[in-house]
């Protein structure tokens, strides 16, 4: 059983629920999730931007032995998805036969259950990629 901290879950809502990222006002680099310091130019001023959910599979692996929270999902594809503007996110690809995943495959991010704290605990929601 996983243990999800409701306070931490709630703090992550902007990125997990709405795909909110931060664009550095100095160099324009987009960080997802948002950061305090720009990894490209060390700038500290950001504007909030929302990522468009369309992207493509950059690389992926197939998980056959998952962590306890995902043991019933196996086998599943875990991928790095490149969204518009070059922003990359790591997430599961849902609703697909993992053997059919290919690099360059068009996907879109969709709102899904990520994990839950047992039968009585909080449910964590976020985004997974699905075939476009």
């Amino acid at each position: 059983m996983s243990t999800l901290n409701p306070a931490r879950t709630a703090r992550e809502y902007p990125a997990r629920y709405r795909l909110e990222a931060a664009r550095c006002e100095a160099c324009g680099a987009v960080s997802f999730p948002a950061r305090l310091v720009c990894p490209a130019c060390r700038g500290r001023k950001f504007a909030a931007v929302t990522l468009a959910p369309e992207g493509k599979v950059l690389t992926w692996t197939v998980i056959h032995v998952g962590p306890p929270s995902h043991k019933h999902d196996v086998p599943y594809a875990l991928a790095v998805i490149e969204l518009g503007g070059g922003v990359r996110v790591t997430c599961q690809i849902a609703d697909v036969d993992p053997a059919k995943v290919e690099a360059g495959m068009a996907v879109k991010l969709e709102f899904r259950r990520i994990q839950q704290d047992g039968e009585a605990g909080v449910i964590a929601y976020g985004h997974k990629a699905v075939p476009a």
């Binding site: 809502y13 709405r18 609703d95 259950r113 990520i114 997974k128």
Partner: protein, 349 residues
Amino acid sequence: MSVGIVGYGAYIPRRRIRLGEIAAVWGADAAAYERGLELHEKSVPGADEDTITMSVTAARRALARAGIDPLSIGAVYVGSESHPYAVKPSGTVVAEALGATPAVHCADLEFACKAGSEGMFIAAALVKSGEVTHALAVGADTSQGAPGDALEYSAAAGAAAYIFGAADLVATLDAQVSFMTDTPDFWRREYMHYPRHAGRFTGEPAYFKTTFGATRMLLEKTGLQPKDFAHAVFHQPNGKFPMRAGKQLGFTQEQLETGWLSPWLGNTYSGASPIGLTAVLDKARPGDRIFMVSYGSGAGSDGFVWTVTDRIDEVRDAAPRTRDQLDNGKMYITYGVYAKLRGKIRMGE
């Protein structure tokens, strides 16, 4: 002031199970079920899909068609009998994911299969009163029938979302009525996993009486007749009931067919007639008049008359069409996988 639908969206999960697959497990006559219920397969939610996730996707599609700022949404209502939490609203997650918080009124609704249309009724009335600029109503369910029960053949998953407003309408709401009596045809007690129902009592005295009641009320209120409508949508607990009810009320097969999804979708409960309406809006022409009556056990029906506007042609392709979701990208599963996904297998610690 004219009030109506500004944007609409539907979500249907990709997984399907065929009726024959279910019937084979319980030694039932698959052909008799398919014929008797006019039902061939039903949608099944994945392990990572629930009423909240389907509501968010349907609502985002409604937002894409509406083209409005989510902060202008002043009310969010999610109607379902399968809210993931017993205590903690589904609507808060939906509103947060859309970016509609915090100046928003929110409530979860439950009235068996009519919780979705209930939200539409309230959302439209709130906009009409001038209290909010836009209001979102969602009908969504991932309902379950007990293993081997007749309901297991039809209980499906899906969602439809509607954003109501007073400007830039895709369909005006011309009239709405509600017909309600206390009718114990279907229920689920607290802490019970599966619902119970009163067998054949769910038909004539419940579904048909209530559907007919709301229909007559709506026709009387508007002074219209069945022939005045291009399309009609009724609650669809199976393939048979909505067709039979519609025809008995004087509607034709042609008027009923566009929104008749249940033979290949199953009963999406709170999503049923609302998803049917999305399929109609996907096809409707400006000026078309649409008749809609929901049904929820317990029992009640909400009835609506809509008239499609010119704007429909501009927004239709801003989100996936409903029939495309129903017909394409299907993933068929076995009863074993279905039992796992729906939590029907007793697990070890």
